[in-house]
């Protein structure tokens, strides 16, 4: 019987302390044939660090929120085979349902295999698809590969949802010998981290997907553009590329075929706009990351103005599975319009946040409530922001919207890269819109007028609204400017930057009006609009709040009701937290 102890060590697991657990476990097993293995991220963020015990490669039990101090009793339990001693660490059936309700294709190996081991990847079926394509007897032509992808209905998972086969075909059809295949791993959306998880947990699946793409379009070089903020992903991908090259899976005459493809990594320097494909290409060429006008599209004139294809990580991560299982199998999942599965990064005020891969066609309610377990502290759900800074929010009334490119777009949100930020009643939607505009205004490359100045002005208008200086007519001005920026901006960043404003205006217009007209924040979140008051009838004059107040805004004498000087108060809320009598209220 072989026993493997797998410690989840994606960036998230490591941040939660997984390496300390490894260090604690390793000496306890040095004399045994039980192996301590590194795996990537299973996607259950709230349970990190996670330690899985495999017996004969079958998962025996999953321990969660493990601490280094638990190492000894885990070792005892594993060695004795009696896991009851660590029952308190075992994942609950409820939490486990988070995984059970998913259908994992892109994430199929994440958190299960060792990302630093080609062997481990191969054992999980890695490189079987490219092997089949390149096999001398029953191989596939590039056209057949493209056809298979066409049948699958796979669409770009980076945000735009453009049919993958179409791009591949266009790049294939573009005249020229020199072609490039590029992976966009510049995952910049706040709240999206599935691409990082795939690279950190299963880099060979990405490499294989890219090899298939390169074969399909006729590229001789594949480049992964990864943001430098993902050092672990870069390290694991570098390692994987080296291993694959050594094994003849990258380079000249791959697997003995005529197909040759070189691989390299380019670390992006941190500009959000470099996730836009033409800006990414400029950056790859060593230029300032600024979008180009389209057309021409990259398929015609991309990297060094040669035919190029760009897809994101998740898109490529589906490819090998589709080749292995057939386009039809992938297309069998999902809706009329959107096929296969999609990974979502579920974050915010959610009980169970993490990576969720589900077939298209499920409802938002299923993802947020069934899988995510609903809102933390059982507060009321308010909205979910889909698609990050380019997306929009979806209110409670539309929670039964089916996950599908078109259906989501109809709500004013987008599928986007799959960021799903859940907000509860305490979130101010105006502040939320402002947050995203702060982001896009900062991340605008500065090239086109509509985006450079337009997002700045949008941000300024929103800032004055949340600080209680909104003016009558600001809503209309916001709308007018939003539509103009959407129509006039050069690239996707600018064109979609107004979406968070437009969609919050669509569903939460009353909150904007309350800020502007009544100078009130209904969510009690905009500090400039809050007034902390001590109710004299409830105040016992204990003086605790006045002692706690960091700016000495509270005055009063012992056993007499205290008062807060509104001009001094910084609305930090410490007084409320201190008061034992509930005498302090916020308006």
């Amino acid at each position: 019987m072989s026993i493997r102890i797998a410690v989840g060590q994606g960036s998230c697991g490591i941040a939660a302390g997984a390496q300390k657990i490894c260090s604690a476990l390793e000496p306890l097993f040095c004399q045994s044939d039980i192996t301590i293995d590194t795996v990537g991220c299973i996607g259950m963020c709230w349970l990190e660090p996670i330690v899985d015990i495999y017996e004969n490669e079958a998962l025996k039990c999953r321990l969660v929120q493990v601490k280094a101090s638990d190492a000894e009793r885990i070792a005892e339990a594993v060695k004795s085979g009696d896991m009851a001693a660590v029952a308190d660490l075992m994942i609950t059936p409820e939490d486990n349902s988070f995984l059970e309700k998913q259908t994992r294709i892109a994430l199929r190996n994440c958190g299960i295999i060792n990302p630093d081991s080609l062997e481990s990847a191969k054992a999980a079926g890695g490189y079987s698809a490219i092997g089949r394509i390149l096999s001398a007897e029953n191989g596939m032509t590039p056209e057949e590969v493209i056809e298979c992808i066409k049948v699958s209905g796979l669409a770009g998972r980076g945000g735009a949802g453009f049919p993958t086969w179409f791009k591949w075909n266009a790049a294939r059809q573009s005249p020229g010998e020199e072609k490039y295949l590029i992976c966009n791993a510049d995952e910049g959306d706040p709240g999206a981290f599935m691409d990082r998880a795939v690279i950190e947990s299963d880099p060979h699946t990405l490499i294989e997907g890219m090899l298939i793409g390169a074969y399909a379009i006729g590229a001789q070089e594949a480049i992964v553009y990864v943001r430098a903020e993902y050092p672990l992903a870069i390290r694991r991908l570098e390692h994987a590329i080296a291993e694959a090259r050594e094994a003849g899976l990258i380079g000249k005459n791959i697997m003995g075929s005529d197909f040759s493809c070189e691989f390299r990594i380019k670390a992006g320097a941190g500009a959000f706009v470099c996730g836009e494909e033409t800006a990414l290409i400029e950056s790859l060429q060593g230029q300032r990351g600024m979008p180009r006008l389209k057309p021409p599209f990259p398929a015609a004139a991309g990297y060094w103005y040669k035919p190029s294809n760009i897809n994101n990580v998740e898109t490529y991560a589906n490819v090998a599975w589709i080749i292995n299982n057939g386009g039809e199998a992938f297309a069998a999942m999902g809706t009329e319009d959107s096929k296969g599965t999609k990974v979502f990064a579920l974050t915010g005020k959610i009980k169970r946040g993490g990576l969720v891969e589900i077939p298209m066609g499920k409802t938002l309610r299923e993802v947020i409530f069934d899988i995510g377990g609903g809102i933390r502290e059982d507060k009321a759900f308010k909205a979910v922001q889909m698609g990050g800074p380019s997306g929009g929010c979806i209110p409670e009334a539309l929670l039964d919207t089916v996950i599908d490119y078109k259906k989501l777009a109809a709500t004013g949100a987008i599928m986007g890269s799959g960021g799903m930020v859940v907000m509860d009643e305490s979130t101010c939607m105006v502040s939320m819109a402002k947050f995203f505009l702060d982001f896009t205004a900062k991340e605008s490359c500065g090239k086109c007028v509509h985006c450079r100045i337009g997002t700045k002005r949008l941000q300024e208008i929103l800032t004055r609204i949340v600080s209680g200086e909104g003016k009558e007519g600001d809503i209309e001005l916001l709308e007018e400017l939003c539509l103009a920026v959407r129509d006039g901006a050069l690239c996707g960043l600018g064109q979609t930057a107004p979406n968070p404003v437009l969609s919050t205006l669509r569903y939460f217009r009353d909150e904007f009006e309350a800020h502007i007209r009544d100078k009130k924040c209904p969510a009690h979140s905009c500090t400039d609009l809050l007034h902390y008051k001590i109710q004299p009838e409830s105040c016992k004059g204990c003086t605790l709040c006045s002692k706690k107040c960091p700016v000495s805004a509270i005055s009063g004498t012992v056993k007499n009701p205290h008062t807060i000087d509104q001009n001094v108060c910084i609305r930090c809320g410490q007084c409320i937290a201190t008061c034992k009598f509930g005498a302090i209220t916020v308006e």
């Binding site: 500009a271 991340e443 509509h450 700045k456 002005r457 129509d487």
Partner: protein
């Protein structure tokens, strides 16, 4: 290459296949607005001004997105428009956004504050260069009577001249008068007159407004007739302004210049008496009413009908029209009521007529007087006494003649709507002043004779549209003192007349174009901003001694020398943008109505930076089109410049923000030549 057919704004076009929409438009003689495009460099697509809508892609379907004409290729059958609401809105917002982050003065405060919009900076520069004819040519684009106006104008240009923040304003008005005098001496500038249009225009009133309207309409080739009720042309300039300020021969010469263009001038024709408006409307294609405001307002106090009480306008008119006959006021005591420029003209004229004592009765204090300070100053030198904080309560007579004035003593109360502290009567406190003549100079109003069919305002002035100058009657326009807000300074009337002439010309040519105030970018400048400027004292106008000048109506001012004028003109700070005439941004900003103030917010720092060689870069005017960066890279093959920073604060700097990069600059100036705004300036003369 085969030819393809398409249309732009409804105009059928053809071009070779493969051109961008922008190139195709250009080939067909159509300019689509654009700021960042240049044929010499690769397509960039930043400004967004060239957005077009394709309402039919040649297959019956519209293209859903707006296309950038600089990059989108024209396709057979395309129906391209850049005049749709969607396109105009997109361009409007782009221009508003650009302007909301633009720091610069398109034109100097002198010009912006001139009611006629005279290019003061332009003509002052020409004067500095000694080019008086050139200066007059520039002035006469807006003001046909510079020698007269230069002498009498209260010059809002000077009041707003930025040089006042350094020490004192440029003497703009006198410079203008000097240039005009020199121009009138010989080789007088004469504008061209266009071919006859066959259209006839009647101008009623030969004052500054009427003369101006006639001057510009005549240049357009229309047959213009001025009908004036007086014996000579000039209106208030002749009959309202004393000769010691404006010698009549100067006025005569300037009017003669207008006449020589072919303007017909008819004297002694009074509307309502000698000719009716009805007749004029029948005879002419357009009628412009510029009759002025010739009646003095009454003070509404008892005794106004006594002998010896006259209106200020009447008093001045009598002196000026007397053909040398000046009323003799020797031994008389005169009270002039009012604190404006008419009161000044009246009191100083009274002194010149020999009056023993002249008093100005004004209900506030000197600080609130609307008259020009120099006028008050000079009147005092000439012996005028002031009775501030008094108001006429009654004019007391004897045998039907003025004997005494009862004056209510006033004090200053709260500020009124104009910001001036309003005078309040001190109850029961009066003063008495023995006088022989009372001149009422508290305001003017229109004499509505012959205007029966014309709608008047509640103030009794002619109601004229602010943008078309049209009255209620078709083809009848009205301008100047007779209209809307009533009497004002001559340059106001001249400005209005110039704008009205354009409207009338457009109407006569078939399509009336209403006046729209041009958009200008402006910036705020404080004394601190100008602290580094060397102080150069203003050239003061030499005058005759008060004792001498108070005896006659000869000019008070002695005039400048050519040298003094040029020296004075060189003090100009040249606030207006050097590139105004060629600036594409301001041209587009004026093609449609824009309101950048809607997007007022943070602006990028507007520092000026002198590049190594002879280029000055003004960041406040940079629109980040990157043409300088791209031209340096792609055309000059230097790559010296780059964009630094991201988003709103992005700025053009030496590449990678390394100042030493600039050292390799070859001084080719291609960057400055490519700049579509005034952000880059070649300083060859300062090299």
């Amino acid at each position: 290459m085969s030819q393809i057919q398409f249309s732009i704004n409804g105009i059928p076009c053809t071009c070779e296949e493969g051109l961008t929409i922008l190139q195709a438009a250009k080939e067909n003689g159509i300019e689509i607005p654009n700021l960042c495009n240049d044929e010499s460099v690769r397509v960039y697509g930043a400004c967004g001004l060239c957005a077009v809508e394709v309402t039919d892609d040649g297959r019956g379907k519209p293209v859903p997105k707006l296309l950038r004409a600089c990059s989108a290729k024209v396709m057979p059958g395309y129906v391209i428009r850049f005049d749709t609401n969607r396109v105009l809105q997109s361009r409007k917002i782009a221009l508003e956004l650009l302007m909301s982050d633009h720091t610069g003065d398109c034109r100097g405060p002198c010009q912006l504050n001139c009611p006629a919009g005279t290019d003061c900076q332009g003509y002052v520069k020409k004067i500095a260069q000694g080019d008086f004819h050139g200066a007059v040519e520039l002035i006469k684009e807006k003001v046909p009577l510079p020698a007269a106006i230069g002498r009498v104008c209260p010059h809002p240009c000077e009041q707003n001249c930025r040089r006042r923040l350094v020490e004192s304003p440029i003497s703009i008005a006198f410079l203008k008068a000097h240039a005009a005098d020199r121009d009138l001496e010989k080789d007088t500038y004469r504008p061209a007159v266009a071919a006859e249009t066959g259209k006839k225009v009647a101008v009623v009133g030969g004052g500054p407004a009427g003369l101006t309207a006639a001057y510009y309409l005549r240049q357009k080739g229309h047959a213009v007739t001025i009908l004036d009720a007086s014996a000579k042309m000039g209106g208030m300039l002749r009959y309202g302004i004393p000769a010691y300020r404006l010698p009549k021969d100067v006025l005569d010469r300037e009017i003669a210049e207008i006449a020589q263009l072919g303007v017909e001038m008819k004297q002694n024709v009074r509307l309502g008496k000698d000719v009716t408006l009805e007749q004029l409307r029948g005879e002419y294609d357009a009628v412009i009413l510029a009759t002025g405001a010739w009646s003095s307002m009454n003070m509404r106090v008892p005794g106004e009908d006594l002998e010896g009480v006259v209106g200020g306008i009447q008093f001045l008119h009598d002196i000026s029209s007397g053909e040398g006959e000046i009323p003799d006021l020797t031994g008389k005591k005169v009270a002039v009521c009012g604190g404006g420029n008419t009161a000044m003209d009246a009191c100083r004229s009274a002194i010149r007529c020999g009056a023993d004592e002249v008093y100005v009765i004004y209900r506030r204090t000197r600080g609130e007087m609307p008259a020009e300070d120099i006028e008050i100053e000079e009147s005092m030198e000439e012996g005028v006494s002031y009775k501030f904080l008094t108001n006429p309560a009654e004019i007391i007579g004897e045998n039907g003649r003025v004997k005494q004035m009862k004056l209510q003593v006033m004090e200053l109360g709260e500020p009124d709507a104009s910001g001036r502290r309003s005078p309040v009567a001190v109850e029961g406190k009066f003063e008495y002043l023995d006088v022989n003549l009372v001149i009422m100079a508290i305001g003017q109003r229109l004499n509505p004779e012959g205007l029966d069919q014309v709608t008047l305002t509640r103030k009794g002035t002619i109601e004229a549209d602010e943008a078309t100058y049209l009255t209620n009657l078709p083809n009848v326009y009205a301008i100047g003192d007779a209209t809307n807000r009533g009497a004002s300074i001559a340059i106001e009337a001249i400005g209005e007349a110039g704008r009205c002439a354009k409207v009338v010309d457009s109407a006569l040519c078939g399509e009336m174009k209403a006046f729209r105030a041009p958009y200008y970018s402006t910036k705020t400048v404080t004394a601190e901003n100008l602290a580094d400027r060397e102080k150069q004292p203003r050239c003061e106008m030499p005058t005759r001694p008060a004792e001498e000048r108070r005896k006659d109506f000869a000019p008070v001012n002695l005039g400048f020398t050519d040298e003094a004028v040029q020296q004075e003109a060189k003090r100009c700070l040249e606030c207006g943008c050097h590139d105004y005439a060629d600036c594409k941004l301001i041209r587009y900003a004026n093609q449609q109505e824009i309101h950048p103030e809607r997007f007022d917010g943070v602006k990028n720092a507007a520092e000026t930076e002198r590049r190594l060689v002879c280029i000055e870069r003004n960041n406040g005017k940079c629109i980040l089109c990157s043409l300088c960066v791209r031209v340096c890279d792609e055309v000059a093959k230097q790559g010296i410049l780059g964009l630094v920073g991201r988003g709103f604060p992005t700025v053009v700097k030496p590449e990678f923000n390394k100042p030493e990069t600039i050292l390799v600059c070859k001084d080719c100036m291609k960057c400055a030549e490519a700049c579509p705004t005034g952000a880059l300036r070649i300083l060859i003369d300062k090299k």
